[in-house]
Symmetry: C2
Subunit: 566 residues, 2 copies
């Protein structure tokens, strides 16, 4: 009988335990050891904001299975026959001897673990900016259960009234909600020009920012934090930027994470351009007996067609399963990801998949067609219908889908997932425009919002629809161009809220054919409504009446990223 395969896994949070568990199921005889530096394993880091908000009751909930079994060493032993050792910091990999060195954090002793196959699932670490005062008390970064416990303790013991969150990405915005729910005044400070920089296009971020501000959060973009001032007890008291100071008794720094690759680098393994570990399609590093997965490893991005670095519990699980299969003789290939993210920001769903328009342009993909196409998430006559703000980006002239973004109170998560599947499978807008999705009034409109967006983008590709983005409209205004911005909503809608724009005037759609008889023919007309379905209709009406310069405004009032008048 052959000796059993020795598998050592470095890292006990997501990809590591998944790889170990999968390997066990594939090979009942393997000797599997997980070495975890910290005290906690297999925890749901993504749940920390909800623990802070109180929506998740106990730290235990993030550490246990859905039926309450703690995923600790005895769980791994009894259920998985896996040796899980915590407090073991791996300090070196001896690839020649196929062994890792680990330091026991309690005893300080060095230990040696031999392996046949090694898995690196060392994760990532929050970026800690080198700013004066960063080490003051009540300044936190968020990654591990211990971070959550320290924040909860600070909230209880020091009763902060004002919080500043640095970084307006998913974690930052989730913390905005969590701390608002706990009654704090919250300011979020972002160094770049918009919230969710790199993840959402400007106009999508803008409508989200307006909403976040309505929830009582101050949003400060394009402000770089230069320092922190403390109080007499060594606790943070103010956050300092070039533009001003913000009082804060609690600060969360959430400006991104960096992959933990030092151990691998020192062992001579290849680190990719992204800073994460280079892996092949089998998730092997440059040493075929060493695999890497989760946040420490690169991800092949199918739309960019190159590796990227992202931090994702979902991808960690996918990696872990593939690694577990391959450790034990399998040949599973990673097909790559499409950059999907989703997050809840108060009651808005925010997410994207594929490329934003900005990212596509940055890549030199300039033959694009885009649509800002908000729609209701289900039939208007069934209670609770809300709008999904949706932007679609596709290649011109073929119409291949490149990306979708959603922002709004409606069920955007569903449309995002359908878009992610379509992207993965290389669909174009013509195919999506006929998708046979589930329709029933509580779940959808007869034309699904994603399908609707694909139809609008298709109409643009064929030249049937001509549109200007709100940014293009704004540019015309700033350039002093002569044009008419025609709001075709009903008088009641107009009374409720309007664009604040010097060129805006209102004619309800039903009166447009009649009233347009008197319009000067030589001007540019830009038509819009709430969502711009009627705006498109108005474009077609004016064109049919012989107006030659007509465009509808993408996204309508709902996607207008500039000032509104109530």
């Amino acid at each position: 009988m052959a000796e059993s395969l020795k598998i050592v896994v470095v890292g006990g949070v997501a990809a590591g335990p998944k790889a170990a568990a999968r390997a066990r199921r594939c090979d009942p005889r393997a000797e599997i050891t997980i070495l975890e530096k910290g005290d906690y394993t297999s925890y749901a880091a993504c749940g920390i904001p909800f623990l802070i908000s109180g929506q998740t009751k106990e730290i235990k909930d993030l550490l246990a299975t859905p039926v309450g079994a703690m995923r600790d060493a005895s769980f791994f032993k009894n259920v998985k026959d896996i040796r899980l050792l915590t407090g073991k910091e791996v300090t070196a990999i001896d690839r020649a001897k196929k062994q890792v060195w680990a330091r026991d954090r309690a005893s300080g002793q060095e230990e040696i673990y031999p392996y046949d196959k090694l898995v690196l699932a060392t994760g990532a670490t929050p970026v800690k900016p080198k700013i004066p005062g960063i080490d003051l008390a009540n300044i936190f970064q968020v990654r591990q259960p211990s971070d959550a416990l320290r924040i909860l303790k600070a909230l209880e013991e020091t009763k902060p009234q004002r919080a500043v969150i640095i970084g307006a990405g998913a974690i930052g915005l989730e913390f905005c909600e969590a701390l608002r729910r706990r009654g704090l005044e919250v300011t979020v400070v972002e160094a770049l020009e918009q919230i969710f920089p790199g993840l959402l296009d400007f106009e999508m971020a803008a409508i989200l920012q307006r909403y976040v501000e309505e929830q009582g959060v101050q949003v400060k973009t394009a402000q770089r934090v230069t320092g922190f001032a403390g109080d007499s007890q060594g606790r943070v008291a103010r956050v300092i930027t070039a533009q001003g100071e913000y009082p804060a008794e609690l600060v969360i720094v959430a400006i991104g994470v960096r992959p933990n690759v030092e151990l691998a680098r020192q062992a001579g393994l290849e680190v990719g351009q992204t800073g994460a570990l280079a892996v092949d399609k089998y998730l092997r590093t440059s040493d075929p007996d060493i695999y890497a997965g989760g946040d420490c490893a690169e991800n092949f991005h199918r739309i960019l067609d190159r590796p990227v670095f992202v931090s994702s519990g979902e991808l960690a699980n996918v990696h872990g399963r593939i690694i577990g299969t391959n450790l034990t003789g399998g040949q599973a290939r990673y097909q790559g990801m499409v950059g999907t993210f989703v997050t809840k920001v108060f009651d808005y769903t925010v997410g994207a998949t594929g490329l934003t328009e900005a990212a596509a342009r940055r890549e030199g993909r300039t033959a694009l067609v885009t649509g800002l196409v908000p729609a209701l998430d289900h039939a208007h006559y069934y209670p609770g219908a809300k709008f999904v703000g949706l932007k679609m980006v596709a290649e011109a002239p073929g119409g291949r889908l490149l990306g979708v973004q959603v922002v709004g109170p409606g069920d955007g998560a569903k449309r995002l997932d359908v878009a992610a599947a379509a992207l993965t499978l290389g669909a174009d807008v013509h195919t999506i425009s006929q998708f046979n999705l589930g329709y029933s009034p509580p779940y959808n409109t007869a034309i699904d919002p994603l399908v609707n967006a694909a139809q609008v983008v298709e109409n643009k590709l064929t030249g049937l629809a001509q549109a200007l983005s709100p940014m293009e409209v704004q540019k015309l205004t700033e350039q002093g161009k002569d044009f008419m911005l025609l709001d075709v909503r009903t008088p009641a809608e107009f009374k409720e809220v309007r664009l604040k724009h010097p060129k805006a005037f209102a004619v309800p759609l039903g009166k447009l054919r009649e009233k347009a008889q008197d319009f000067p023919k030589d001007k540019l007309y830009v038509t819009f409504c709430k969502f711009s379905l009627r705006g498109y209709e108005a474009e077609k009406i004016l064109e049919s009446l012989g107006f030659e310069q007509v465009k509808f405004m993408d996204g309508g009032l709902v996607h207008w990223p500039y000032e509104l008048e109530k």
Copy 2:
């Protein structure tokens, strides 16, 4: 200047107005006329159950746009420049002269409408069974707003206490909820062996039936209605079946619809095998100047690879858009559908896309692999997580997806739509098993339920997982086979609810490695838990201990279609 194109559309509900509106946008000069037999146009028939339940407040809501514009003749004139005529029953098509004859229902006069292009969107009519008493008062069928008004009037004026619904499909079950909400006692009678016959597999229907019964609805399957008995005022009083009589002061008959093809048949147009109008990929009938769409036309089913007949407001809109394009010189092709449906039954989401296992087998596709794979719809530690009962059907050995069904309180609609997209694009379970969907605790688990199902099915395809369906377990029981049905849930879960099964015994997963030392090795073990994730783990544990006959039970307790013990 060429004369403008004359388009006549027969039918003013869904596909017809959509085709007309699209044609208008594609051709501003076309003369477009819609002839509608009834008084209402462009109505949301799918909303009728919600009007009856009171969730939709007014009939007007089903007739108006989301901003309250009634889609009547003046709306079509002012907004669309389309002539919409109601009360016009088209009685004949003269294809040689290219004109239709219509009878004005008010005046009784015959009128002639010439066309260059004709669209048939004549819809479908509820099947009215020829049963004694079917014409008694308070027996209704549901299709049009007038039906809704008559039902509402009957509810108010005759105050029925008990309702019988005949037909346990989507409309029947939606009416169960609507009438329960209005306080009636409700019995649903279905002629076939299960609810949602043809749409769900037995075990999916069975867990739904259990839930529907918990909502206070009596469900009578395999009972054919043979007659109705009336009271002294000519109103229905009892519904009679071979198995018994059910008192009822209100009856809804919802046993399906038939396409309205008589007009087309008389004009010599080809009617397909399904009974609906045969159309090509451009949605032309056998006469190239006559298009057909919506419920009167066949739909090409991509998975069955042949035309089918279904009634769907969603498909009607897709058809209408294609027809409108093609009427005006375009070349849009219908890519076909995948048979997606979704409906809300009380607080359960019920739906399917592609083929059920039964349908696949009926088609002679017997090389199948299936998975019953329930999962939580989002992270267990975020409030409100509920299970999605999910069945996946794929081809063996390649793993191409054939269908997905969902039943349960969780967000199955999202997973269904992702599955519909994947099906349309020909995905296999290997690809789906790595889908990069949106993950955040309020929206998903780190492994999405659909992805999880694909992983389980993949595990079965590779032989890693061995499972028996609950029906196979039941069959072993009935055959008196010697096997052990091993429940590996926690003692607390076991106490709450258990399978009622003579072979069932319980050992919590965490104790299985230890306890199994004493198990006899020569028996068949069937392991399960709540969802059967732990059931699968238990299978692998027993296999690793040298047990040679081990399977897990698909779907676990949640999908057990037989008796439970509380």
